[in-house]
Amino acid sequence: SDLGRGQGQILRFKLFDSQVDEGFWWRLSSLKLDVLGLDQSPVNVTGFFAPCSHPRVSQRLSLLAESLPEVSGEQSASSDPAHGNRNRCPVPGILYNTNTLESFHALDKKNLLKMEAEKILLDISSGKVEEECSSLLRFLVISFADLKKWTFHYWFAFPALVLNPPATLVSLQPASEVFSTEETDSLTTACNEWRSSSLTADVPFFLVSIANNSRATIRPLRDWKSCQGDGQKLLYGFYDPSHIMSNPGWPLRNFLAFICLRWKIEKVRFFCYREKHGMADLGSSLVGEASVSAPQDWTERRSAPQATGWEPNASGKLTCRTVNLKESMDPVSLAVAAA
């Protein structure tokens, strides 16, 4: 069909959508009161996401209670209950929670974003990404928890390395239109197997190789070398939270940077993996080709990379969001409601 859709255009990515569960704020409040006190050191948090599973709604990057360490101090018996949960792929993040609204606004946002982008670049060049690919999705949250008013101000950033010149789009189509029926069936089976094994279910970046006999296999990034040659087709796959048919989601951005920096590839065939009802759906998944060139100064590490990724608020402004949980957290409100 429309093979040429977007040909030569700048490839545009749909930003992650953040969502914060009430449980996160409950746990942050206890952490602040019982453990952190006035300490404003950054806290490691874990965000969770999954591939898109509904044709009208993108998946979010969510913070839940489990995103923060447990307050009680008692190490939970089950070491890592979230691991292997296909609907909760963990993503490393960092939280800067300030003590006052003034210090919240005084945070040097540009620099914080740059610091995270540098970590991503370091993980790319050190090879860490091949072992822990979710580090490509590293994110940042700044917050001010006003515990007197049960009000939380917060702002997410999803740092992306800015390629200059930006990647351009050669083609983009639904995967089912690109592959033959045999290839589609084989890839669907392979994806469903990858997603149902607890070892791989939450691994969001992978390699798709399709042999001449139409047989598709999915391999971890570290198998890249052994995927070379043999004349098979090689695609770079990722869990795509975006539901939009015209644009890939945010994870592809740093993935492309990784592919061109680490593996020196300039024409990248990518696979935006999406699901329907929890099963691989190649009708809504996308296959595209991007043309990428790695900036010279990155590889020579002469300058820090440019980064982007602060999330706009609900009205599209680049500013923080605010949630007031007085109704559900304030003991006085609760008592009044129960009376």
Partner: protein
């Protein structure tokens, strides 16, 4: 009302403490589930409908009679494109038949508010849809979230802080919403919709599953439980749907009260058996979700239609 509810909760807690969990199956006789049957049915739901998963929940709220990593079931980010309340109004206006027919025409579930197959955009009566697209014409209507709405004056105007960080550099590779609304086909618009996290817990007193709703508004902010009632069939809103503490999560959540679950499930099982279908206990949650669909008709979580409910004797 609230007092009686509280008294009942206390009573229920006492009974739960002194009675052991059901271990013998009364699935077909009473429509109830033992703890181990709940885990079996939950495992089956997770394997057939993988958007559901088991979770551990808050460690402090852990129930000793359930496996630590299988405390409750959850499916997240489920869209709810239309308000149940407005769907029902349409239905009544059309002289509404309130039986839910499926393909086999066996309307065994009497229900209100089967969603009509219309494009949501056409409905002017649905409030949430007005803020649908991030549209270039005019500002987006402010979406009032309950949390925060009441005390708006207390919240400093963030815009007054300006943009000292100069984050507004236009990045050419970031998809700008106006870009695709203006130029791309309609299906690619970003739809703003309420979403739900739907969870299923085990109620030891009633020996049935119990469903909980955690809502998010169009801007992904927590939805006050009272507003969740707009997405509940009006037969159930304020009656069987109550707002209570979640057994495994912090905060108040809307829940379908389980007092009639056993009886309803028994009825469904009887209808199936009268047709020669032998219901299997591991399919319990598929049946249960059919029943729940009559309570929350516009939350799009249910796709269990395709599965056989039991072994047919035909």
């Amino acid at each position: 009302m609230v007092l009686t509810q509280k008294l009942h909760e206390t009573f229920k807690g006492t009974v739960e403490r002194i009675t052991g969990p059901r271990t013998v199956s009364a699935f077909k006789e009473k429509g109830v589930l033992s703890v181990s049957e709940f885990v079996i049915a939950g495992d089956n739901l997770v394997s057939k409908c993988p958007t559901w998963s088991w979770e551990a929940g808050e460690p402090k709220k852990r129930k000793p009679y359930l496996p630590p990593d299988k405390q409750f079931l959850v499916t997240r980010n489920v869209p709810c494109l239309r308000r149940a309340i407005s769907v029902e109004e349409e239905y009544e206006a059309a002289g509404g038949e309130v039986l839910l027919d499926n393909d086999e025409n066996d309307g065994w579930l009497a229900t209100h508010g089967k969603p009509k197959e219309t494009q949501p955009n056409e409905e002017e009566t649905i409030p949430s849809m007005e803020s649908l697209a991030i549209n270039s014409e005019g500002p987006i209507r402010s979406i009032s979230t309950y949390f925060g709405g009441a005390e708006e004056e207390d919240i400093p105007d963030m815009a007054s802080y300006g943009d000292p960080d100069n984050l507004l550099d236009v990045d050419p590779a970031t998809l700008q919403p106006t870009y695709f609304v203006a130029q791309e086909p309609e299906e690619d618009n970003i739809l703003r919709t309420r979403t739900y996290d739907v969870s299923i817990t085990y109620d030891k007193y009633y020996q049935t599953p119990r469903v909980w709703l955690t809502g998010y508004d169009e801007s992904r902010m927590p939805l006050q439980p009272e507003l969740v009632l707009e997405d509940v069939s009006q037969d159930h809103a304020h009656k069987t749907v109550t707002i209570e503490d979640h057994p495994h999560l912090p905060g108040k959540h809307a829940s379908v009260h389980p007092c009639r679950h056993g009886a309803v499930m028994k009825k469904i099982i009887d209808v199936l058996m009268s047709r020669g279908v032998e219901p299997e206990v591991d399919k319990y949650l598929f049946l249960f979700l059919k029943f729940v669909a009559s309570v929350i008709p516009t939350i799009e979580y249910d796709y269990t239609m395709d599965f056989d409910i039991g072994s047919s004797s035909h």
